[in-house]
């Protein structure tokens, strides 16, 4: 039950969406948030998902992050059909292969940075000593060595988001999902966060999928997908990245 689903390692692309729709409600009240989209994301890619509010990009992110399942169409993560998995199986998939960074940081308050970063490892059943070492290493890798005992209230917004990134990468995930990671930060802090994500993508080959409004932030990505009214309006790649 708690062992990770065995997925193929070599299989590229990591993410394959084929004709995925997602609708809410039923009958005349039915609202279609995604109206048949196809997306492929390769290993080591850095994708920015863009679009106005209500364009379906958040719905798409929830499906990609295995928090939600498609109404129709297929989503294969490393070759596994996510739509056929149970709630708990998807939880295990998230635990072992995915990392999340949110706009509102979503750290546990009154809990030290170290314990926040340890959290996903606790669910994985990592032993205390190794857990602490890996959490410290992850905090160091986001430039927060020495801040282990600070609680979120004692950290700045930028630092909180770094803790959140450390928490997401401490498990060495296959894909990091970032939902408006700079939405609550000023431009200087935003740049720092984007540089951090870019470096993880560049140096460690971490696949990053990021939702953003901001064209400047999106320019850090290798590829941009624009959503409008539940469809993919256009895809473009950033030359020079």
């Amino acid at each position: 039950m708690t062992t990770p689903p065995i997925l193929s390692e070599s299989n590229s692309p990591v993410i394959e969406l084929h004709d995925v729709t997602r609708s809410y409600g039923s009958g005349t009240a039915e609202v279609s948030a995604l109206q048949g989209i196809d997306v492929n994301i390769e290993h080591g890619d850095f994708v920015a998902v863009m679009g106005p509010s209500g364009s379906g990009k958040s719905t798409c992110m929830n499906i990609l992050g295995c928090l939600d399942t498609p109404s129709s169409g297929t989503y294969r993560f490393k070759g596994m059909d996510v739509g056929k998995l149970s709630r708990d199986q998807r939880a295990l998939l998230r635990r072992h292969y995915l990392g999340f960074v949110f706009q509102g940081f979503n750290l546990l308050n009154r809990t030290s940075a170290l314990e926040n970063v340890e959290l996903p490892l606790i669910y994985r059943g990592t032993l205390a000593k190794e857990r602490r070492q890996r959490a410290k290493k992850a905090l160091a890798s986001v430039g927060l060595a020495g801040w282990e005992t600070h609680t979120p209230a004692e950290l700045s917004g930028g630092q909180q988001q770094r803790v959140a990134i450390a928490r997401a990468i401490v498990t060495v995930p296959s894909v990091l999902f970032a939902d408006e990671p700079t939405g609550n930060l000023d431009s200087a802090r935003s740049r720092e966060i984007m540089e951090l994500l870019t470096s993880f993508n560049h140096d460690q080959g971490l696949t990053v999928v990021m939702v953003t409004h901001d064209a400047v932030m999106a320019s850090y990505a290798k590829r941009m997908i624009h959503f409008r009214d539940g469809f993919i309006e256009k895809e473009e790649s950033n030359r020079g990245r």
Partner: protein
């Protein structure tokens, strides 16, 4: 998986010390109340049993008249006993430690200018043995005094205090009715009886003296019999009943015109009553424990709403439904067990204080401590389950969006 979940639950409790301590307050009070009520109640039961057994162990009280109707319940028409009845019991019935024929009267005792209404009991030295009295000073009656009906007496502690205070009364005389009576002994005090009357307020005289010079008849009012240790008081009682029916020529279909009261039965009845009271008080306290459980549920439910985002984070990170359920359940159980332990400590302290204040023995009932601890753990499981399920069923997307 369980270990990780326990770790998470413990971190969560530590993170919210204030909320956690408020949550367990109800359980603490409930457990403390149950333990205090039951312990003090047990002490009171023991106290009643002790007091009654101080009347005399294995004591049977034989009186003319049909059945126990309280003081003066003797049925008119039932013949009184004679000394021969007591002698027949001594002679014919086995397993007896002592037989004391008794005649008692209410009298005014006078010493100097002091005047005191009390009881006198006319009996033999057997009376001391049967009723568990010991002499504090002086001596018991000698054969000559008993046979000759001498004007001597042994006084209870209350009489001693009333007439002589700290002075030695032995050799002094007190006047009872028309006779002047020399004091030859003092009894050790027993204190008030379980029924509230003063056991020490009486004067013991030789049977013959009371019969001849105060009562003016050879009747015996009652016979106190004590069974030997280990002898069945029920068998002795049945034997006495058979013997007396024979002696009093009671017809086959007639009811007894006397009754034999087994003190052990009275002990059972009275301790049964206090035990019932203890149970009732314990039950009332148990209700407060239940209310404490509902308190836990309320705070846990509120905390699920308050912690929706946290639950969303956990689910997104990869916590399974069962782990979130277990986390909340363990939080509830750990809290209620912790509350139970604090309640046990407070309960023991409170019942020690209560037993001291009520002057009853302090008897720690390990059973009730175990039961109230298990009950508080059970309360945690039962009342923690509903909030825990609510938390586990949250949709992670909704939960993360929760403000």
């Amino acid at each position: 998986m369980l270990f990780e979940t326990i770790l998470i639950a413990m971190r969560e409790i530590r993170r919210n010390v204030m909320r956690s301590s408020l949550t367990i307050l109800g359980i603490v009070i409930g457990v403390a109340a149950v333990i205090t009520m039951v312990t003090v109640g047990d002490g009171a039961t023991k106290q009643v049993a002790n007091e009654i057994s101080s009347l005399g162990s294995n004591l049977l009280d034989v009186r003319p008249g049909q059945s126990f109707r309280g003081p003066g319940g003797t049925r008119s028409g039932a013949p009184m006993f004679k000394l021969a009845d007591a002698e027949a019991i001594t002679r014919d019935i086995s397993g007896l430690a002592g037989v004391a024929p008794i005649v008692s009267r209410s009298v005014q005792a006078i010493h100097g200018n002091d005047n005191w209404a009390t009881q006198i009991a006319g009996s033999t030295n057997e009376y001391l043995k049967v009723r568990n009295w010991t002499l504090a000073a002086g001596r018991a009656f000698n054969d000559g005094e008993l046979k000759g009906g001498a004007a001597v007496c042994i006084i209870g502690d209350t009489i001693q205090k009333q007439f002589f205070g700290a002075l030695d009364p032995i050799g002094n005389t007190i006047r009872l009715e028309k006779i002047s009576c020399q004091i030859i002994g003092i009894l050790k005090p027993k204190g008030p009886s379980g029924f509230g009357s003063d056991q020490d307020d009486f004067i013991l005289m030789p049977l013959r003296t009371v019969q001849r010079r105060i009562a003016g008849s050879t009747d015996i009012g009652s016979i106190s019999v004590s069974a030997m240790d280990g002898a069945s008081t029920q068998k002795v009682k049945a034997d006495i009943e058979r013997l007396l029916r024979e002696r009093r020529q009671t017809g086959k279909n007639e009811e007894d015109d006397f009754n034999v009261r087994d003190m052990q039965e009275i002990v059972k009845t009275l301790t049964g009553t206090t035990r019932l009271l203890t149970t009732l008080l314990g039950a009332v306290a148990a209700v407060s424990l239940l209310v404490g459980g509902i308190g836990i549920m309320n705070i846990m439910l509120v905390s699920v709403t308050e912690r929706t985002r946290e639950i969303g984070i956990r689910l997104a990170i990869g916590a399974m439904e069962s782990q979130v359920l277990m986390q909340f359940l363990i939080e509830a159980v750990v809290l209620s067990c912790f509350g139970g332990i604090i309640g046990i400590i407070i309960g023991i302290a409170a019942s020690a204080a209560g037993a001291g204040a009520l002057k009853v023995p302090f008897i720690l009932n390990l059973g009730i401590i175990a039961i109230s601890f298990l009950f508080s753990a059970g309360v945690g499981i039962v009342f923690g389950y509903f909030p825990a399920r609510k938390a586990a069923h949250l949709d992670p997307i909704e939960a993360l969006r929760h403000e």
